[in-house]
């Protein structure tokens, strides 16, 4: 009954002071919303990088010719001819921490089907490729080791290639296409993977047996890459060491000599990229904390000033019989109502802003529950505390002192 009255009093006071209420709420709303939106951007980019990388195969290991620190200025890794088929075979035979291994040779060219023409990249690999890249087929089948041995002219193509060289509704599997004027039979179509975080279209590929690509398209006998997958993500680091040792022995390198190849696990790639996005998140958290702090100070100010302003009102309420605890309770209820309403509106605005950023700016976002909880809690607690604290001081005054306050 008494509490109900106090809630009524607090509610009336809030409605009476619309401007003050609005200003206080605005501080809370903006504080909460900006924190939620900023952290959603940070989390979103982190997640998108993570998912791109794990889509690429999280236990994948990449072996490239040329030392790790060789920049593009000395020619890209692909031009260095230190990685051979022989190396691949030794790795395949000796590295027991790898479950799949494939050589990779690749080159650009034109895919032609009738009058349709599309520039793409052909990758010469063995059937392990699908396992390593964690990609399936939407139709047809993968070529086999028999195709590799006989250097068959068969290809598996990505959806982008299908879209660009086949007319709508035409079934690609079983059709003949030409790559750089060499005829190939399409035997399968890869599952769609879309773009990765780095903007690469993962569906713009033509996959053929490496023997066929080496002999008929590129006319080379070395390899551009060897890719493999470790038997598990946990074994990836050991697998890198194992492959490095095998290759050093194969390349007859002395202890003092540096590697003339590089072996990298996805793990390393992940840590490189996630440290970048980690930095972004730290930055956003810093900005968000500052806006939360400023919001908090704003709430503090308005609450403090409004209680001071209302000291006379507090005096009157005490003069007509309001107890110190009644006054305190009223201000506490006011602060709670304002802070919680503001906090909720802030959450709604923050989520709205996130949806906007995702859909209109096309930035990946992911709303973290903790950001809602923390920002809401910080703003609500600041609001409630700074509504309560000056009210407590005012309610401890003698009624006459409060009434006389100017």
């Amino acid at each position: 009954m008494r509490l109900l009255n106090l809630i009524k009093i607090a509610f009336k006071a809030i409605v009476l002071n619309k401007m003050r209420t609005l200003l206080t709420m605005l501080g809370i709303i903006i504080g909460v919303a900006s924190v939620i939106a900023m952290l959603a951007i940070g989390e979103g980019s982190k997640e998108s990088i993570r998912s791109t990388i794990s889509n690429m195969g999280s236990n994948m290991i990449t072996i490239q010719p040329g030392a790790d620190d060789r920049g593009p200025a000395r020619g890209s890794g692909g031009d260095v001819q230190t990685l051979t088929l022989q190396n691949y075979e030794v790795i395949k035979a000796q590295a027991d921490l790898l479950s799949y291994v494939t050589p990779v040779v690749n080159g650009g060219g034109q895919v032609i089907n009738g009058s349709n023409n599309w520039p793409s990249t052909i990758y010469g690999v063995n059937p392990d490729y699908l396992e390593i890249k964690v990609v399936g087929l939407q139709s047809g089948s993968m070529f086999t080791n028999v195709d590799v041995q006989s250097a068959s002219k068969v290809v598996v193509i990505g959806q982008t290639v299908v879209d660009n060289v086949f007319s709508d509704g035409q079934e690609p599997v079983g059709q003949m296409i030409r790559f750089n004027n060499i005829p190939f039979k399409v035997i399968g179509v890869l599952e769609e993977k879309g773009e990765n975080t780095f903007g690469q279209d993962q569906d713009d590929v033509v996959i053929a047996p490496y023997t066929t690509v080496q002999k008929r398209i590129l006319a080379i006998d070395y390899l551009n890459q060897v890719i493999a997958s470790a038997i598990s993500e946990d074994d990836a680091a050991d697998a890198v060491t194992q492959v490095t040792e095998i290759l050093r022995t194969e390349h007859k390198l002395l202890d003092a000599e540096e590697d003339d190849f590089s072996v990298r696990s996805m793990e390393e790639l992940i840590s490189t990229f996630s440290s970048t996005s980690e930095m972004l998140t730290v930055l956003l958290v810093a900005v968000a904390s500052i806006s939360l702090l400023i919001g908090g100070i704003g709430i503090m100010n308005i609450m403090y000033v409004s209680v001071k302003e209302r000291t006379k009102e507090i005096g009157l309420r005490m003069a007509v019989g309001g107890k110190g605890s009644d006054i305190l309770m009223q201000f506490l209820i006011e602060a709670i109502l304002i802070s919680i309403t503001g906090g909720l509106l802030g959450v709604i605005l923050g989520l709205g802003a996130t949806v906007f950023i995702e859909n209109f700016l096309n930035w990946p976002t992911s709303v973290a529950l903790y950001s809602i909880v923390i920002s809401f809690a910080v703003c609500a607690i600041t609001g409630i505390f700074f509504g309560w604290y000056p009210a407590r001081k005012a309610s401890a005054l003698d009624p006459i002192t409060a009434l006389r306050y100017e």
């Binding site: 008494r2 007509v320 019989g321 309001g322 009644d326 009434l403």
Partner: protein, 247 residues
């Protein structure tokens, strides 16, 4: 014999401001009986407001005894004092002290909101009755800014009446009003007094004192005079004698 509503004995109040001590009340004693209409007179700074604030339990004496309706105030806690203010006293200020942007009826309801014995319906009813009693039955939903000074003071009087207090304390309640409105307010006080409500009224205007049954004159924190008024004037009659306003 009617009982004493107020009993004070050697009441002192001093204010310390830095190194200086102001003796606002220097040992005051008097009783006020139920049904009396007392004016406290005195020049500015004589201690009238200090006196009345203590009587209204808004302030505490430095020393001395104060009993209200048989209860010794000295021993009471802050909460108990609030209850006394709520249930036994109606206080009226010179500057009305109404809640801004709040309707007359809600202003009058305010003391009852702090009295959990009164239900919502009863609160509304009593507020309307109090406003009707002060002649504002047709202004229930006006806010202070929509009311004249005299009307605002009537709202304040209604607010002081609504809890059925044992006494009403008014500090220069007519101080901000013109003569005509002052007399109207005084006539209202006389009516209330006739209904049995004890009234203590602070003023520095001698003509206002002629409407009361007893006058206590303060000077520099001490009682100068305390006399019964045997020829109480009727404020309503005086009002009728005032020259007609040409508005």
């Amino acid at each position: 014999m009617s009982k004493d509503i107020i009993k004070i004995e050697d009441l002192k109040r001093q204010f310390t401001m830095g190194t200086e001590t102001v003796h606002a009340l220097k040992g005051i004693s008097f009783n006020i009986k139920e049904g009396e209409f007392v004016t406290i007179m005195g020049s500015s700074g004589s201690g009238k407001s200090t006196m009345l604030n203590i009587l209204g339990c808004l302030d505490q004496p430095t020393s001395g005894e104060y009993e209200i309706d048989g209860v010794s105030v000295k021993a009471l806690s802050r909460n108990e004092l609030a209850t006394i203010r709520n249930e036994k006293i109606g206080f009226i200020f010179q500057s009305y002290n109404l809640l801004a942007r709040t309707s007359a009826i809600e202003n009058v309801e305010l003391p009852l909101l702090y009295n959990s014995k009164v239900s919502t319906e009863e609160r509304r009813e009593r507020a309307i009755k109090a406003l009707e009693m002060v002649g504002l039955g047709d202004r229930l939903h006006h806010t202070p800014s929509q009311l004249s000074g005299g009307q605002q003071q009537r709202v304040a009087i209604a607010r002081s009446l609504v809890n059925n207090p044992v006494m009403i304390l008014a500090d220069e309640a007519t101080g901000n009003l013109d003569t005509r409105t002052s007399y109207e307010i005084m006539s209202l006080f006389q009516e209330l007094n006739q209904k049995g409500i004890t009234i203590t009224f602070v003023t520095h205007e001698p003509d206002i004192a002629t409407f009361s049954s007893r006058t206590i004159v303060l000077k520099d924190g001490s009682i100068m005079q305390d006399y019964k008024n045997h020829k109480v004037q009727s404020a309503a009659e005086q009002l009728a004698k005032l020259p007609k306003q040409d508005d």
